[in-house]
Symmetry: C2
Subunit: 240 residues, 2 copies
DNA sequence: AGGTTTCATTGATGTGGCTCAATGGGGCTG
DNA sequence: CAGCCCCATTGAGCCACATCAATGAAACCT
C-alpha cells in the first residue's frame, strides 16, 4: 500500500509563483504582487508518484505543502492496521497544519502529484508578516473543520447507502468540471472509499451495484459515476 | 431534549474580564493588560439552564461565545432526527467559529452554563487589531481539527468497546482534577455518549457493564467512572 | 502475447451492535 | 413520603454490514 521509495524524488529548483496554475485556489492567493518574490524564495517543488508516502503520522513536521497537481489521501492508522482516511485533497489544497510539532495524520499520493514545499519556519514568518495569509489559513482551517464535522455525522449516523451517496454529492460539489450531466471521476480505489466511509471494500462494491440497479447512479467504468437524477440522490443521501 | 424557553435569560451587565476565572484557558488570555478595557467593552454575559439551546445549526451567526462555567454539547442532526454529537465543550472553550455566516452545528447546555458573549463583528475587529488573538484562535482551531480527525478514526474504525475506552481516556486527559487514582466525572447522559460515539444508548450501557465485569472500570455511580489500571485501558482502547 | 499481480465484483455465512420490550432505580414534586 | 417521571439497565431476537472465499477483469511487466 505504501511502497515508500526514496521518499520522493529530488526537489526542483525554485519556480515562478506568479505563473502557478493553482495560485488562485491556494493559500498563495493571499500574497500580494509585491511579496511574490518573497514567496518564491521559500518554496521548492517535488514530484511524487502514485502510492508514495509524503509524510507519516507522528513524524516531526518540518515542511508544509501546497498541492499543485494530483490527488492525495490523508489517513490515520490503528496499531493493528485498521485505517481511517480523514480526507482527500486536490489541487490548491494546503497540507501540513500541525498541532504539536508532529504531523497529525499521514499523507500519500493517489495519482502523480506535484508539491510546492516550504519549511514550516519560513511559512510561520510569512504568516506573521502578511496578515492576509494568516486570514486565509484561518479560513481554510474553518472550512476543514466544518467538513470534518459533516464527516463525523456521516460516520456515526448514516447507513452505507447514505454514506456512499453523500460522498458522491461531495465529490460533485468539489469537482470543478460543471457539465450539465453530473459526472464524477473517482481517482481513488474502492479500498480508499471504504476507509473513508468507515465501511469494507465489499460493502462499497455491493452498494454501488445496488444503486446502479435502482438507476440512482450509472457506472460507465469503475472510476466514473454519473448521477442522472440529482434530486433523488440528495433525498436518498439523508433518508426521509 | 431541547425545551427552548425564552432563548436564554436576560444578559447581565458587563464584567471584569481581568477577574475572570477561566481567562487563562480562554481566547482572552491572548489579550494584553492594556487592551483589557477594550475586551470588557464588547462582552456581556448570559446564564443558560440545562437542556436549553444556545444556538441551532444553520441559524445566522451573530455572536461568538466563551464558556465561563458549565458544559455544552455540539451536535448535528439529520432530517429524520438522528443526531451526531460532534464535541463536548467546557470552561474556557470558545464557541462560534463559522464558515458561511451560519452556525455549522447546534449547541445546548448540559449543565447550568455561564456564557461570555460578543458580537462576531466586534470579535473580528479584535482579531484584526490584536495579532495574538488571531494566533490563539488559529491554534484553537488546529487543536479542534486534530481532535475531529481522531474522532473520525474512532467513529469509522473502532469497536464499541474501544470507542468507550477511548472516550474515557480523552475525558481523563481533559479533566483538570489530577488525582492519583484516575477518576472521571461524566456530566452528560448515556444518550449523549451514544450520540457522540455513534452507538445506541443500549450498547453504551451494556459495554459499561461488560467493562465493569472485566474490572477495567469501576462505576461508583452512573456519572462517575474510575480507571484502576490505566495501562490496561490504554491497550484495550486500540486493541492489539 | 503470455503470465503475473492487483483490484473489483459476487456469493455464502457470521456477528456486533441495533431494535423492540420490560424492569429497575434515583430524583423531583406536591 | 407517595407517586411520577426520567434515565439506565437488562433481555430476546434480528439485521446491516463484516468476514471469508471464489471468480472475473483490467493493468503491468518482460
Amino acid at each position: 500500500m505504501t511502497d515508500r521509495q526514496s521518499y520522493g524524488n529530488a526537489p526542483h529548483a525554485h519556480h515562478r509563483c506568479d505563473q502557478c496554475d493553482v495560485r488562485h485556489k491556494a493559500m498563495c492567493a493571499a500574497v500580494e504582487e509585491k511579496d511574490n518574490d518573497r514567496l518564491a524564495a521559500i518554496v521548492s517543488h517535488r514530484d511524487i508518484s502514485p502510492g508514495q508516502v509524503i509524510f507519516e503520522e507522528g513524524e516531526p513536521a518540518e515542511y508544509a505543502y501546497n498541492i499543485s497537481r494530483g490527488e492525495v489521501r490523508l489517513y490515520k492508522l490503528l496499531p493493528d492496521g485498521r485505517r481511517q482516511i480523514t480526507g482527500f485533497l486536490g489541487e490548491g489544497d494546503f497540507l501540513g497544519l500541525v498541532t504539536d510539532d508532529t504531523y497529525a495524520y499521514g499523507a500519500e499520493a493517489m495519482t502523480p502529484v506535484e508539491l510546492c514545499i516550504m519549511r514550516l519556519s519560513n511559512l510561520e514568518r510569512l504568516i506573521a508578516d502578511i496578515p492576509p495569509v494568516r486570514d486565509k489559513l484561518l479560513d481554510m482551517s474553518r472550512d476543514e473543520l466544518a467538513a470534518a464535522q459533516e464527516q463525523m455525522l456521516l460516520l456515526g449516523r448514516k447507513t452505507a447507502r447514505e454514506k456512499l451517496l453523500s460522498f458522491l454529492l461531495n465529490r460533485l460539489d468539489h469537482s470543478d468540471v460543471k457539465t450539465s450531466e453530473a459526472k464524477i471521476i473517482l481517482p481513488m480505489s474502492r479500498t480508499d472509499i471504504a476507509d473513508y466511509l468507515g465501511l469494507t471494500i465489499e460493502t462499497v462494491s455491493r452498494t454501488f451495484t445496488a444503486l446502479r440497479e435502482e438507476r440512482l447512479i450509472e457506472l460507465p467504468d469503475t472510476h466514473t459515476v454519473m448521477l442522472p437524477d440529482l434530486e433523488a440522490v440528495r433525498d436518498a443521501s439523508e433518508a426521509l
